[in-house]
């Protein structure tokens, strides 16, 4: 497509004429495409985006699809008193000494509160919860996904049947629709979200691989600042616009993944 092209649109001009189509001259483009590139920063610079006491989101499911490189950097930078929103806290096994994914940060005692759907494989999270060192709010996984999506999509909440008649109902508004009871689940947002993609272009368009997608796409919509750790960084235009999982506009900073194994 050329520069300074003048193109005729047929547009309905509600404001001035009613139910009449009028042709308009519109959109002169100054460049071939979007040339908004996002800053490529180091993992340390990404970790430094977190301020003491922030709420952060980190993608991944049992460490699959977590931003390993950035997680290591957050351990180094070591901001404390954070609130963490995640699917689960990955693995921390006292017997085998296996610690991975988000578990690395839990072990580093950086969280005052954790929202997660599952902490069963992380004995350290359980220990911190039982000792009262860390507050843990357990949220059904589907509700957690919707709460984060709602946060990103400007919804005031969603009604879910999940948790009705269980402990999850406590303190929540129950709303009956068509004679069925639902819980009102409120949105979740964060100061910074760290997501992990298989491929990203320099504008920030992201493509995830396999089940490593999990919570990453919703988290990318629900934070003030979004850092994407990408395994493969490609030029703008190399990703088919039909195959993009997370639109570039959600991504503020890009980190090249260096740690590839959990």
């Amino acid at each position: 497509m050329g520069c300074a092209e003048r193109v005729a649109f047929f547009r309905l001009d509600w404001s001035y004429q009613v139910r009449v189509w009028i042709p308009q001259v519109a959109y002169v483009y100054k460049q071939e495409g979007l040339v908004i590139e996002k800053p490529i920063i180091t993992a340390a610079e990404a970790a430094a985006k977190i301020k003491e006491g922030d709420t952060i989101m980190i993608g991944g499911f049992m460490a699959s699809g977590s931003p390993y490189t950035v997680i290591d950097a957050i351990k180094e930078t070591a901001p404390k008193g954070l609130t963490l929103i995640c699917t689960d806290t990955a693995t921390h096994n006292f017997k085998t000494n296996v610690v991975n994914g988000i578990g690395i940060l839990v072990a580093n005692k950086q969280f005052k509160k954790i929202f997660a759907s599952h902490i069963g494989l992380n004995q350290e999270t359980q220990r911190q919860m039982n000792s009262g060192e860390t507050e843990v709010e357990l949220v059904p996984q589907g509700s957690l996904a919707e709460k984060i999506r709602a946060g990103g999509a400007g919804l005031g909440g969603i009604l879910t049947p999940t948790g009705v008649g269980t402990e999850v109902q406590e303190g929540k508004q129950v709303i009956t629709v068509d004679n069925k009871a639902y819980l009102l689940e409120l949105p979740l947002t964060a100061d910074v979200a760290f997501v992990k993609a298989k491929k990203g272009d320099k504008a920030g368009n992201l493509v995830y691989a396999g089940t490593a997608r999990n919570f990453n796409p919703m988290m990318a919509t629900a934070a003030k600042l979004v850092v994407a750790e990408v395994e493969e960084l490609v030029e703008i235009g190399e990703i088919d616009p039909n195959d993009v999982h997370t639109a570039s506009i959600f991504v503020d900073f890009i980190v090249k993944a260096e740690k590839l194994d959990m």
Binding site: M62, I119, S143, A209, T211
Partner: protein
């Protein structure tokens, strides 16, 4: 009559409940065994709540790819025709009733269809993961469990005492003694698995059991 725990029989019977093309989510633990007994000629589609349809076997050793894992976090493969999606979409599939069967393990299940399988206060608080959504959302909920605890107590109850995973959502309970349907706040015994008898089940189970006139004895 002596009771011998038999997980395989539970798995065998549940595997025969499926129809061609059913979308099935198999929970962690005993339910996983069900995949071994799906009859010839029946193809089920396994959903994994962490974001895939068409769950396939684990790759051979050395071929593991941690970008494709099951709900337990272990590497699996995707079968031809399967696909991946994010967790919001995955639980939309579950909550929206697009999963035909969910098979779950049990700590307690009661005759109102209440299920407890995620928490033992003070002992085990792993979090509910996707279990609450699965039990609330799947079209048919099958609770799978050995009939008795090691202590000899029945896992089928009048009233659950543990924190519930979901209230009144269980449709079927399959134990190593029989197949039960939850109807009108009672367990209706639909099938007895040989060599057990309806009388044995009724006597040993701490719940109200209705023995249907068409209750069959099944050899597994």
């Amino acid at each position: 009559m002596e009771y011998v725990a038999n997980k395989e029989n539970i798995a065998k019977r549940i595997a025969r409940m499926f129809h061609n093309g059913d979308v099935v989510n198999l929970g962690i633990g005993l339910p996983t065994l069900v995949g071994n007994y799906v009859p010839e000629g029946i193809t089920i589609i396994l959903q994994s709540e962490n974001g895939m349809m068409g769950l396939g076997p684990a790759p051979e050793a050395g071929q593991e790819n941690y970008d494709v894992v099951n709900a337990g976090g272990s590497p699996v493969s995707v079968l031809t025709g399967g696909c991946f999606f994010d967790s919001a979409t995955s639980f939309g599939i579950i909550r929206g009733g697009h999963v035909d069967y969910t098979v779950l393990g049990v700590l307690e299940v009661d005759q109102m269809g209440n299920l407890a399988n995620y928490k033992v206060p003070g002992k085990m608080v792993p979090g509910m993961g996707g279990a609450m959504d699965l039990v609330s959302g799947a079209r048919v909920v099958i609770a799978s469990t050995l009939h008795f605890e090691p202590s000899g107590a029945s896992r089928m109850k009048r009233h659950c005492t543990l924190p519930l995973t979901a209230a009144r959502e269980v449709n079927f309970v399959v134990t190593d003694l029989g197949l039960f349907e939850v109807v009108g706040d009672r367990f209706h015994l639909r099938e007895v698995f040989a060599p057990y008898t309806a009388e044995f089940i009724k006597e040993k189970t701490d719940a109200d059991i209705v023995i249907d006139t068409d209750c069959r004895v099944v050899e597994l």
